[in-house]
């Protein structure tokens, strides 16, 4: 049996808004094994993004615990969480969030630069990743010179740069047309099949969710189905 990449136990995140308690994630248990491709669906405010943020170590739970790639996140210092995100988590954003002044190649090299990877190795791996996502001729283009689909491909290449344990994608096709949505969905599928990448993907699109091997549905902060 594959090792556990995500193990969340009784995970809760409670916000106080206008004096009222909002349970964004409510007592969630979740396990993801290496190579799992999990898509999460649910109405707005159901807690999908909050769950992804908790797994991605950019938010801390109110209660409960998470182990990521075998490491307990409880009690980790901020700098240790930063290091964990840098090495073990790849984020893909709905609006790509690429650095506008950097080229596609530089955007993919950036996480490696921050992780202290030698410059030559950065360029080699970034070129390899951009070729893998289908942009071998767009290395030196800046985000404004690329289409939305191409930008998201760069975003995926960047997320894979440091060889993470898990890829977290929050509505990665939310800003794309249907044709590009399909292409990007298949790219995630390829990352899962060809590289054995563990993926957690949030979507409102049934077709996109369909490329994952497992579908979670959330409502009111809880996982209501896991199929």
């Amino acid at each position: 049996m594959n090792e556990l990449v995500v193990e969340a136990r009784q995970l809760s995140k409670v916000y106080v808004m206008g004096g009222e308690e909002v349970r964004a994630v409510d007592d969630v248990d979740l396990e993801m094994r290496k190579g799992d491709f999990v898509s999460i669906m649910g109405p707005s405010g159901s807690g999908k993004t909050t769950l992804l943020n908790l797994v991605g170590c950019i938010d801390r739970p109110t209660s409960g615990g998470i182990r990521l790639d075998g490491q307990d996140l409880a009690g980790l210092k901020e700098v240790e969480l930063d290091r964990l995100r840098m090495r073990k988590i790849g984020f893909v954003f709905q609006s790509f969030n690429l650095m506008p002044i950097m080229t596609a190649l530089e955007n993919v090299m950036f996480p490696m630069e921050m992780a202290g990877v030698p410059r030559k190795e950065q360029a080699r791996r970034a070129t390899e990743l951009l070729t893998w996502v289908g942009l071998p001729k767009r290395l030196n283009h800046k985000p404004r010179e690329l289409s939305a689909g191409e930008n998201q491909r760069v975003g995926i290449a960047r997320a894979l740069a440091n060889g993470p344990a898990i890829l977290l994608a929050d509505e990665p096709t939310g800003n794309l047309d249907s044709k590009t949505t399909k292409e990007i969905s298949l790219l995630f599928r390829r990352a899962n099949c060809e590289q054995g990448m563990t993926i957690m993907l949030i979507t409102h699109n049934e077709a996109v969710a369909g490329v994952a091997g497992r579908l979670l549905r959330m409502r009111d902060g809880r996982i209501v189905s896991d199929s």
Partner: protein, 354 residues
């Protein structure tokens, strides 16, 4: 202004006798109105009680330059003095090259002159050269170049009194007289007695009065300088601060992304402060260059329109260094708050920022 102050201190005269209508602060250097009084009065002044010696002088501003309108072009002060003037009243003056005026230079068939250091520098003069001008048909010949005093004497051309009077066709007339007294405690009374000789022709200023006025002028200039500098500094800080706040605020999402990618907040803090520092250094560099340019423009304007060759706006290397240091400090200070503020922002909120 410091040069002016130092120069005033090194003058040994106790009283200046100035013709009615003369303006300035008594020094022959600053009397340029064209007003004059009869040289015969010098003997009367010498007879006043407590007067030790009288040194008449004839001062005229003279145009120099090559007519090209360069910064070197302007006016200098030609100061016709008696043989003992420099020896008795300017004992601290030393020559860089050549010699001081001597008895034999007086009523020579040519106009021998001793030039101040700045005049020599700006017109590139050497001993035995002639000045690029004529005074009453005579071409002044340099017999000595003074060492720089950092004061007004750097901008004066000294010549024998009688030669200047002859050349300018003003024999028997002087533009003022410097007076020394035997008892300095009664200088005021002596000045009053001199003025009373002929109050229609001349009036007196004591060195103490002049020193007081100069001191006030310097204090005022320093106060204005400090106020302007403080306001400029405040504006500079606020400008860089608002620029950095805006720049950082616009990149909230980028910074959130960097944080999500694992970049530590201290690294981002350093990046922002470094950017602010570079902005400050660049702005400081441009400001320093602008300052040098502006000072040259001001000097040119003073020489061209105010006829005051002895005044010039100077930007010293020390001042430039200080300006750059201030720019660096402003850069760092103005970057600290935006950097601190943005790195405190929650990653989730930063990623949602639009």
């Amino acid at each position: 202004m410091n040069g002016f102050n130092m120069s005033a201190k090194e003058r040994k005269e106790d009283i200046y006798v100035l013709p009615k209508g003369a303006r300035g602060l008594g020094s022959p250097l600053l009397v340029s109105s064209g007003a004059e009084f009869s040289e015969q009065r010098v003997q009367d002044i010498g007879g006043v009680l407590n007067v030790k010696a009288v040194y008449p002088f004839y001062t005229r501003q003279i145009y120099f330059g090559d007519g090209t309108g360069s910064v070197m072009e302007g006016f200098f002060v030609l100061d016709g003095v008696t043989p003992d003037f420099l020896v008795d009243l300017r004992p601290s003056l030393e020559v860089e090259a050549g010699r001081l005026l001597e008895q034999g230079d007086y009523l020579d068939d040519q106009l021998n002159v001793v030039v101040g250091a700045e005049i020599a520098r700006s017109v590139k003069l050497q001993v035995d050269q002639t000045l690029p001008l004529e005074v009453g048909g005579l071409v002044p010949r340099v017999i000595g170049i003074l060492k720089s005093t950092g004061g007004l004497d750097d901008y004066i051309v000294y010549a024998p009194l009688q030669d200047v009077q002859l050349a300018l066709d003003r024999e028997g007339w002087v533009t003022g007289a410097a007076v020394t007294v035997t008892d300095p405690t009664t200088t005021e009374e002596t000045a009053d007695a001199i003025s009373n000789l002929s109050s229609e022709e001349f009036y007196c200023q004591t060195s103490e009065q002049i020193a007081g006025v100069v001191k006030n002028l310097i204090s005022m200039a320093r106060a204005i300088h400090l106020s302007v500098a403080s306001i400029a500094l405040l504006i500079g800080v606020l400008f860089v601060l608002s620029t950095m706040l805006m720049a950082v605020s616009e990149r909230t999402k980028e910074i959130g992304t960097m944080r999500a990618l694992g970049v530590h907040r201290i690294t981002i803090f350093r990046l922002i402060v470094t950017e602010s520092l570079i902005t400050g250094v660049l702005a400081g560099g441009i400001g320093c260059l602008g300052g040098v340019g502006l000072s040259k423009l001001i000097t040119w304007a003073i020489h061209k329109f105010a006829s005051a060759a002895f005044l010039q706006a100077v930007v010293s290397p020390r001042l430039l260094g200080f300006g750059l240091l201030i720019a660096v400090l402003i850069g760092i200070l103005a970057g600290l708050y935006p950097a601190w503020r943005i790195t405190k922002t929650n990653i989730v909120e930063a990623l949602r920022y639009e």
